[in-house]
Each structure stands twice: as structure tokens, then as C-alpha cells.
């Protein structure tokens, strides 16, 4: 009788997967923390253009979002022309003034001068629509705007 048992040659031993849940949880927490819940459900295509001279928009609560682009595939009945979206629904250019007024009313009074309007416009929209939006914003004296863009070079992307 030998003291040491001879090992059975039962093939390759199974890989220990006890640490798998830890890794998965790590990833899970990353995504949970990094996720921002969307404020608005977009009804338009919103493929932002690229630019590299960008500044960060800090203070998210002081930003009003105006979206524009052509209706996405689920909303084909609204046509293919670029449209404006304010707060979950399509809007006309002359509704911008009331939208800005409503946004301003929901903020504290001393913060109103710091409000910025972020224009999230699809890169295929044309400037006529944006010119109209800018004109409306000037009328209601919302002069600080931000053209929201993705970060990247402006060349070589179509």
C-alpha cells in the first residue's frame, strides 16, 4: 500500500468559474452607474454631426433641449421633412416661444439668465429649419445656445 495515491488521469480539470459572478457584477455596476435615463423619447433620427472644438455642457439642469431631424422609421406618417421635437412630441416653430417660457417658469428665477438651449439636430437637416429656430430663440431672448455635436474630426465623415 502506497501512501500516495496515484492520480487518476481523468483528462483536463474543469476551469474554476467561481469568480465569474464577480466579474459580471463588476460590469453590471459599471453600466448601472454610467447609464443615464433619457429624458425624452426621440421620435426623430438624431445623428449628431462631428466637431472637435467642443466645450462641455455642465450643469445639466440648466439646459433646455430642442431636437430636430427627420421623423424616424416608426413615425413615417409624419413625412420625411426635418421636424422639431419638443418634450416627446413634434412641434411647430412658433411653439418654441411657449416651450422656452414653460422651461423658464420651471426653474428658479435667479438661474434663468444661465439657461442654455442645446440644439440637438440631425446632421442631414438643413439650415432653413435651424435659422427659423434661432430666430424664434432671439425673439424670446434665449441667446445662449449650444450646437450639440459628437466629438471627432469634421473631415472624412459623410
Amino acid at each position: 500500500m502506497s501512501k500516495f495515491k496515484k492520480k487518476k488521469d481523468g483528462g483536463i480539470p474543469a476551469v474554476n468559474t467561481a469568480a465569474l459572478p464577480d466579474i459580471v457584477f463588476m460590469l453590471l455596476f459599471f453600466f448601472m452607474v454610467a447609464t443615464v435615463m433619457r429624458q425624452n423619447t426621440l421620435m426623430i433620427d438624431n445623428n449628431l454631426p462631428f466637431a472637435d472644438q467642443v466645450e462641455k455642457l455642465d450643469k445639466k439642469d440648466l439646459v433646455m433641449y430642442i431636437y430636430a431631424g427627420k421623423p424616424s422609421s416608426n413615425y413615417k406618417q409624419y413625412g420625411t421633412e426635418a421636424k422639431i421635437q419638443l418634450n416627446d412630441k413634434f412641434a411647430d416653430v412658433n411653439e418654441i416661444a411657449s416651450f422656452i417660457a414653460a422651461e423658464r417658469a420651471s426653474k428658479r428665477e435667479e438661474l434663468i439668465p444661465f439657461l442654455t438651449t442645446a440644439l440637438k439636430v440631425d446632421s442631414d437637416a438643413n439650415m432653413g429649419l435651424i435659422g427659423d429656430i434661432k430666430q424664434e430663440l432671439r425673439k424670446v431672448n434665449a441667446l445662449k445656445i449650444n450646437y450639440t455635436t459628437k466629438k471627432g474630426s469634421v473631415f472624412g465623415r459623410n
Partner: protein, 195 residues
């Protein structure tokens, strides 16, 4: 009966549950973009008096409906715009600007303080091209400001602005603000848009 340890809970399916949640968050995550080009619109009130600006101090950029670029009455490629704008702004034609490194061409702009870029687009211009042009013009200003900051304070302008915004930056913010303002007055961003 001898003491027996409590049986271990089978945690084998924990990974499955975690995977389920992970995939849910993976699918629903959209990384929000929250950066862009800041601009200020001109106020509405019309001023009656006409400001007379010399033609040579205006750098006209025209964008037509087919996304073609006309700069100072010549067709230009987008990639050359940044350099052209830089040369125009940094020209220093009347020799009053001692920090300008331009050609001092008397037929181009007098002074960075007087130089104005005028951008005109048509209704059919695509937004993408418009942003690209805006980006190039802002880049021209930023490059000049960076160079100026580098020679004055040994730091780039973008770095100074980043420091100013950073709450954890240890230096003196008031002094930094003065420096930033100094560079902004040296190269003021005068970008006008024609309606």
C-alpha cells in the same frame, strides 16, 4: 448527532442573474452627448445707426445650398478654411498689433480686434457642413489664442480654461481669470452671422 455546518446555498445561478441584468443595462444604455459648440445669438433689437466697417476687415464666408464654400469671393475647400481664417485674423495690417505673426498685408485685416468673420448660409445648406464650418472658424480662433497664451504664460488657452472650470485646481482663480480675459481681448471672437 454531531454539529453539522449549515449547508451552503447554491450560488451557481447567481452569474446567470447578473448576466441578465448586465445585458439589460447594456442594451438600454445610450451614452448621452453633452458637449458641443457654444454660441451666442445677437439680441433682437435693431440698431438704427449703421456701423461702418472697412471691407478689408471683413472675412466673408458663404455657404451655398450645395454645401460649397466661397471664401473672400473664391471657392475654397473646407480643409483650407482654418488656415485662411488664421491668416486673416493674425494679419495685423496697420502694425498696431505687436503680437501678430501674420504677413502684415495692408489689404487684409488691420488688427485682430477689428477683424470680423461674416458667415452666411442658405436655407438649403446642410447642418453638418454648417457645423463643420463653424468648427473650423472656432478652431482658428482657438489656435491663435493658444499660441498667444503659450507665449505669454507658457500654457495653452484650452488648458487655462480647463483649469478655470476645474473645482479642484489649486491655483489662484482670479489671476487665471485675468489672464484668460487678457487673451480674449487680444483675440476677440467676432463671428457674425448674416440672416
Amino acid at each position: 448527532m454531531s454539529k453539522r455546518a449549515a449547508p451552503e446555498v447554491n450560488a451557481g445561478s447567481m452569474a446567470d442573474i447578473a448576466f441578465l441584468l448586465l445585458i439589460f443595462f447594456l442594451v438600454t444604455t445610450t451614452i448621452e452627448t453633452d458637449s458641443g459648440i457654444n454660441r451666442k445669438l445677437p439680441p433682437m433689437e435693431e440698431s438704427d445707426e449703421d456701423v461702418i466697417i472697412k471691407q478689408k476687415n471683413i472675412f466673408t464666408v458663404l455657404l451655398n445650398g450645395k454645401d460649397q464654400l466661397l471664401v473672400e469671393d473664391e471657392i475654397m475647400e473646407l480643409k483650407n478654411l482654418r488656415k485662411a481664417a488664421r491668416e486673416f485674423l493674425d494679419n495685423g495690417g496697420d502694425k498696431s498689433c505687436d503680437y501678430c505673426r501674420g504677413k502684415k498685408d495692408p489689404t487684409s485685416s488691420d488688427n485682430p480686434d477689428k477683424a470680423i468673420i461674416s458667415l452666411k448660409n442658405e436655407r438649403e445648406t446642410s447642418y453638418k457642413t454648417y457645423i463643420a464650418v463653424q468648427n473650423e472658424l472656432v478652431a482658428a480662433y482657438n489656435e491663435l489664442r493658444d499660441a498667444r497664451a503659450q507665449s505669454l504664460y507658457g500654457k495653452s488657452f484650452t488648458e487655462m480654461e480647463a483649469n478655470y472650470k476645474d473645482v479642484n485646481w489649486p491655483g489662484n482663480k482670479e489671476k487665471l481669470k485675468e489672464k484668460i480675459d487678457q487673451i480674449k481681448t487680444d483675440y476677440p471672437q467676432k463671428l457674425s452671422e448674416v440672416q
